[in-house]
Amino acid sequence: MTKADLADEIFEKVGLSKKEAQDIIEIIFDTLKQTLKEGESVKVSGFGTFHVRKKSARRGRNPKTGQDLEITPRKVISFRASNKLKLLIEK
């Protein structure tokens, strides 16, 4: 399933035009991205939570060359499915 499929669902179930449906899908994911960029978690009840986690710098090694290097501090997203969603997909 891609953004195009989601737009089709909106078109069929909500009755927006295809163009409007595509635009709103872009806006939804852009809003999520901007919020996460600010470092804020997003909780969608019944679905799950996107957390922003800060990773500190650490020593690493290039597995190909064996060279020691510093892994820079960075932010990563961790997603935790809600219990409801976990149960839905478990089987």
Partner: protein
């Protein structure tokens, strides 16, 4: 940010859509994703990330309290992989 704040933020950015309609759109989006995952499909949101199911094998575990051995059945878990664009946005 919660679902209702998300509705507000999206509604602000869309012309000619009421808050109620925006709420229905968001509900439809998350329900569609859920239905799709339930069928075992992979969800690919370019620029944001992918959702897919991973299989966890059946294993034997121990009840830490009683020391009793229990069978844990195989199950599927949801995995989210962040998209390149979002990963770069976070660290820019």
């Amino acid at each position: 940010m919660t679902r209702s704040v998300l509705v507000d933020k999206v509604a602000e950015r869309v012309d000619g859509l009421t808050r109620k309609q925006t709420e229905i759109v968001l509900e439809t989006v998350f329900e569609s994703i859920k239905e799709s995952l339930k069928k075992g499909d992979k969800i690919e949101i370019r620029g944001f990330g992918n959702f897919r199911l991973k299989t966890r094998n059946a294993r034997k575990a121990r009840n830490p309290k009683t020391g009793e051995s229990v069978d844990v059945p195989a199950k599927k878990v949801l995995h989210f992989k962040v998209g390149k664009e979002l990963r770069e946005l976070l660290n820019s």
